[in-house]
């Protein structure tokens, strides 16, 4: 569960997005799961898995506060204390179905690894990726190599202008996988796609289901984002 992983690279790849690659001991990692990463701060930071190649795991993150600033200062050769992989990811058993992947900003990364694993299974996918502006777009080529990819920017400086919900309205698909800011998840959870999954982000304590800090409201109570999720069926949570 706990691993001490070595940083291989760590640099900005777009406005507001850092990419870090680390080498791990155990690379059996389901798409949509996360690692709980120790930084200079007391509590760990949950980082989703953007990619796995051999024993190399890629994380994409945004510098928000002291913890992520500390991560941004790590250099190749530095060792990180991580717990994981944690949580439950996207269900990959979608044979014969068409999956639409909808990501927003720093919620895009887990959908890249998910799309790769769906492609391995021969499952047809279409991706809609929303960003603030042209400079914040990342992984466009990588996504395009795996199938149809639609980029949107809020300010219209690149791709389609507006939010991901614009192109989503005209997409025909059986299943939706989504990760991104809460207003976006709320919108896609109410979309016309029959089977909808959302990956939720929250402030976490332990990351393993013991502290009840990261709960999300659900019909009839709460669910724990870290251990019941972070991926839920849209009906399982109240967004």
């Amino acid at each position: 569960m706990r691993q001490f992983v070595t940083v291989l690279s760590n640099h900005p790849i777009a406005k507001g997005a850092m990419e870090m690659k680390v080498s791990v001991e155990n690379s059996v990692i389901a798409p949509g799961t996360f690692f709980h990463v120790k930084t200079s701060e007391l509590l760990r930071r949950p980082l989703s898995v953007a990619n796995v190649e051999g024993d190399v795991v890629t994380f994409l993150y945004k510098i928000i506060g002291k913890g992520t600033q500390d991560l941004a200062e790590r250099r190749p050769g530095d060792v990180l204390d991580v717990l994981g992989p944690l949580g439950n990811g996207f269900p990959l058993e979608q044979t014969g179905k068409r999956v639409v992947l909808v990501g927003g900003g720093i919620g895009v990364p887990p959908l890249y690894y998910t799309r790769r694993r769906l492609a391995d299974r021969g499952i047809e996918t279409v991706a809609i990726l929303g960003f603030d502006t042209k400079e914040s777009v990342f992984y466009e080529e990588a996504f395009c190599a795996l199938g149809e990819t639609i980029i949107t920017t809020v300010d219209g400086s690149y791709g389609e202008a507006g939010f991901v919900t614009g192109p989503l309205a005209r997409i025909e698909a059986d299943v939706l996988f989504s990760c991104g800011p809460e207003p976006m998840l709320k919108a896609v959870a109410a979309s016309h796609i029959e089977e909808r999954y959302v990956s939720i982000e929250n402030r976490m304590g332990c990351g393993i289901g013991a502290c009840f800090a990261c709960v999300c409201e659900a019909p009839g109570g709460y669910v724990k984002v870290c251990s019941d999720g972070p991926v839920f069926r849209a009906e399982e949570v109240t967004l």
Binding site: M1, R2, K38, E41, L42, L43, R44, G67, D81, L83, N202, R203, M204, G205, C206, G207, I208, G209, A210, C211, F212, A213, C214, V215, C216, E217, G221, Y222, S227
Partner: protein, 308 residues
């Protein structure tokens, strides 16, 4: 046997236990290491009925600490007895059940229910949770109310009762003396300090509950001072807690007068922390020339007394 500690109701193979609310009911941590190595486990607070707890955000980080306002989310005493204790009973460790409520009647019901289970070896009376609207800390900041509740719960419980003190009081020693006089078998201390953080981009408190309980290394000096003061005015044992994350933190609490030590927030930072402390203790005792860990209990004030 140099780590063995005997307390009312509890035979601890070592004086280390996870603190209530920081370890759930053990299920998650049991996947990481053998819980039988722990001296004991203080399980998450039980209330009469299930509680959903507070809205989120429920945690906010601070310098060397964290604020939490979970709000006693738990499945209720009956469900804990039927669904959680059977699993805990499979481990060779002492289970201490944390008892909470909004009214004296609720505390009594929870104390009866939890203490009746053979897996539970002692109760921890929670009169110090700062994150609930009714009950909790209001019972723990008035010595008369604290004493009355201690009496009621003692009468209702078939197991020894440890009272968990709030640091949010003017005189911690008055609180300790009041619960001792009311029949408490021991004291656990300290619960969290009430605090707040504000998001300067919105101007509003970060926690949905607005205020929360501060824990972590930031509060350790406060906890040490309070244990040090209380240990000198009561004859019942103290289980100390507040910011423990290393073996030396444990020894500080013992020197201050605690007989055992609970580890809270550090379990989030490092889920293996209790295991690591227990494994490190014998080596550290060797280095410091200490035979049994309780040989130094209260030495911090005894040495000062003998010097004067």
């Amino acid at each position: 046997m140099r780590l063995h500690v005997s307390l009312p109701g509890l035979q601890l193979k070592n004086p280390i236990m996870p603190a209530s609310g920081c370890f759930g009911f053990g299920e998650e941590f049991a996947k990481l290491y053998d819980l039988s190595m722990l001296g004991g486990i203080m399980i998450k607070a039980a209330t009469g009925e299930s509680r959903f707890g507070n809205a989120t955000p429920r945690v906010a980080e601070t310098a060397e600490g964290m604020l939490n306002a979970i709000g006693l989310q738990n499945p209720g005493a009956k469900a804990i007895v039927s669904d959680k204790l059977p699993f805990l009973s499979t481990f060779d460790t002492e289970i201490i059940a944390n008892v909470a409520g909004s009214t004296p009647e609720e505390y009594v019901y929870v104390a009866e229910t939890m203490s009746a289970d053979p897996t539970v070896k002692a109760l921890e009376l929670n009169i110090s949770c700062p994150n609930v609207k009714c009950g909790g800390m209001q019972f723990g900041t008035d010595p008369v109310m604290a004493a009355e509740l201690t009496r009621l719960v003692k009468a209702a419980s078939s197991k020894p009762v440890y009272v968990k003190l709030s640091p949010n009081v003017t005189s911690i020693t008055n609180m300790a003396k009041a619960v001792e006089a009311a029949g408490a078998d021991g004291i656990t201390m300290i619960n969290t300090l009430v605090g707040m953080r504000i998001d300067v981009t919105t101007g509003t408190p970060i926690l949905a509950n607005r205020i929360g309980g501060l824990s972590g290394p930031a509060i350790k000096p406060v906890a040490i001072r309070m244990v040090y003061e209380v240990a000198q005015v009561v004859d019942i044992p103290i289980i100390g807690m507040g910011g423990v994350r290393t073996v030396d933190d444990v020894l500080e609490f013992i020197y201050a007068g605690a007989s055992a030590v609970a580890v809270g927030t550090a379990n989030f930072e490092n889920p293996y922390v209790c295991q690591e402390i227990i494994e490190a203790l014998p080596h550290r005792l060797d280095e410091l020339g200490i035979d049994h860990i309780l040989d130094v209990r209260g030495k911090a004030y005894e040495q000062i007394v003998s010097r004067t």
